[in-house]
């Protein structure tokens, strides 16, 4: 990334850190969701954006992370701060299973997509029918406001946790970009046979990518549960969440470092505003139509996402200056 790019990112980060001083709680919530979806998008980006292995079932990892953390907190009294790593570990294990089956048997393209969807659906149905974890009603977390229970009296606590998650995932992805892992993942995405011929153990690197991606997504699941205080199989394991995770990086630019963040800044406020607006006017669900239209527009006019265009515009400004 250019010097200008780094400076701009630093300025943006300072602004984001200072923002809660001036924003009200309602606006903070929108930002929490922006950061949260950018974080999940970044986790997905490692596997699907850089590695080209399209997952449409990332909700499975969110759900496993969310349920594990919550169950450990409710039944074993383990703080979500610790439980989240157990949840992420289980999500990573699930990722390893999906990856092993998919990559060992050489599923590519649509067939791998279907495998990820199938796993997420199996998770959802299992959760729906397991009374021990609440069945269809799901689990509800009692609010205590105890920071040790990953709960904050003030929305700002969640704001900073979500921001930290997003920044950490992006830092990690930046490191991946500059490593053999990142170079090999993009090579696999561009041409798997050529990568294999050049010494890339394609099976192993795809497996590393899905495990890392699932681990991060599982951590995100823990945040989801503790932020919303409730989880139901249809929401945390559902296809709509998987789609929500994919949309940000695709709109922002899949396989680019800032794509998921950019996409989340575009889509999340739109989703939140249209959700509240249309719900108020009695047209619940219309926000999905808005979503769909936006996605069509992106596919038609920005097939590689918004980020490449932004980067080019910035580069032009710099040469002009």
């Amino acid at each position: 990334m250019s010097h200008l790019g780094r400076t701009l990112m630093l300025i943006a980060l300072v602004i984001l850190v200072a923002l809660p001083a001036v924003l009200g709680s309602r606006a903070l919530t929108v930002f929490v969701f922006i950061f949260f979806y950018a974080y999940l998008g970044q986790a997905w980006n490692i596997l699907s954006g850089y590695g080209g292995q399209l997952s449409a079932g990332h909700a499975a990892f969110v759900g496993v992370g969310a349920y594990t953390t919550t169950v450990l907190a409710m039944y074993a009294g383990i703080s979500p701060w610790l439980g989240m790593f157990a949840g992420a570990g289980l999500a990573a294990l699930l990722g390893a299973v999906v990856g092993f089956l998919g990559f060992r048997f050489g599923l590519r393209g649509f067939y791998f997509v279907l495998l990820t969807v199938a796993f997420a659906e199996v998770c959802r149905i299992v959760a729906l029918n397991t009374e021990a974890i609440g069945g269809a009603l799901g689990l509800y977390i009692t609010f205590t406001g105890d920071p040790w229970q990953f709960q904050f009296q003030d929305n700002r606590g969640y704001y900073y946790v979500a921001l930290a998650l997003m920044v950490a995932a992006t830092g990690l992805t930046a490191g991946v970009e500059r490593s053999r892992l990142g170079a090999y993942l993009t090579a696999i995405r561009e041409d798997e046979d050529a990568a294999e011929a050049l010494g890339v153990d394609t099976f192993r690197y795809k497996l590393v990518a899905i495990v890392l991606s699932a681990f991060l997504t599982g951590l995100g699941g823990a945040f989801y549960a503790t932020y919303l205080f409730s989880l139901q199989p249809n929401t945390v394991f559902g296809i709509p969440l998987s789609v929500d995770i994919i949309l940000r990086p695709v709109v922002g630019g899949a396989g680019t470092l800032l794509g998921p963040i950019l996409g989340s800044f575009i889509l999340t406020p739109l989703a939140e505003l249209s959700r509240t607006y249309f719900a108020r006017t009695g047209l619940a669900g219309t926000h999905l139509v808005v979503y769909g239209l936006l996605l069509i527009a992106v596919v038609l006019f920005l097939p590689r996402g918004a980020y490449p265009h932004l980067a080019r515009a910035l580069a032009r400004r710099r040469t002009a200056a």
């Binding site: 500059r178 490593s179 053999r180 170079a183 090999y184 993009t186 090579a187 561009e190 041409d191 046979d193 050529a194 990568a195 294999e196 011929a197 050049l198 010494g199 890339v200 153990d201 394609t202």
Partner: protein
């Protein structure tokens, strides 16, 4: 023992016997040309040797070790690199990034691999294109990139599958020169080629495949005069008419 030694290698695709017990040895340091009419089984042999396909029968040894069953990436790590007849650049990556993927096979650290990739690009004459996306290259440049990437893996044996096909005579001459320079660095070369003049000037030894069998092996001059070879290429009446 030869650097590469294939014995009795056979491969069948459904009803088609692509290779019927082919034996081939390549000594370290050689440039060997592999020729034959279309469908003779040349590319199939490359796929078997490089681990992309498994033979139905026969053994393949590389540097004294049996390699049947090894994946292509494992063979690459052992020093056997290949190019593809239909070039497979990573289109969205820059030329430098393409070659760096190859260099990372021996040099796991980014800075060292990047430096190595730049050296290889200078060696093959693509340094000026380093920062262009691979999709912006001409066919001749793509062929050269394909070669550069494979060479960057630090191979002992390089399998080149028609790296000259579709090039102008001038470009072909440049690639011939490049192959010689690569060979001079100590890399053994086995190349499939249809451009006869190039194979004949470049190879120390030529192996001729026809219908899945080796029909002749020898120095270029002897191969060019071999009636069996002429017959394979031009049909029986030509083969027998020429004494």
């Amino acid at each position: 023992m030869a650097l590469l030694e294939a014995v009795g290698v056979a491969k069948r695709f459904g009803g088609l016997q692509a290779l019927g017990g082919v034996s081939l040895a390549v000594e370290a340091g050689e440039i060997v040309g592999l020729i034959g009419p279309n469908g003779a089984g040349k590319t199939t042999l490359f796929h078997l040797v490089s681990g992309f396909l498994a033979p139905d029968a026969g053994t393949i040894h590389f540097a004294g070790e049996p390699v049947v069953g090894l994946k292509p990436h494992a063979l690459c790590r052992r020093g056997l690199a290949r190019t593809f007849q239909l070039v497979k650049p990573f289109p969205g990556l820059t030329v430098l990034e393409n070659v760096r993927v190859g260099a990372l096979a021996r040099l796991p650290r980014f800075p060292a691999a990047t430096a190595q990739a730049r050296e290889v690009l200078a060696f093959v004459g693509l340094a000026a294109k380093a920062d262009l996306p691979a999709r912006a290259l001409t066919l001749a440049e793509r062929k050269r990139l394909e070669l550069a990437r494979a060479f960057a893996t630090g191979p002992r044996l390089l399998l080149l599958d028609e790296v000259m096909a579709g090039l102008t005579p001038t470009e072909t001459g440049e690639v011939v020169e490049l192959c010689r320079r690569i060979n001079a660095t100590g890399v053994t070369v086995l190349l499939i080629e249809h451009v006869m003049r190039a194979v004949m000037t470049l190879s120390q030894r030529v192996v001729v495949l026809n219908q899945g069998q080796v029909i002749a092996t020898g120095p270029p001059a002897a191969i060019a005069a071999d009636p069996r070879v002429i017959e394979a290429y031009l049909g029986p009446e030509h083969g027998h008419a020429d004494p």
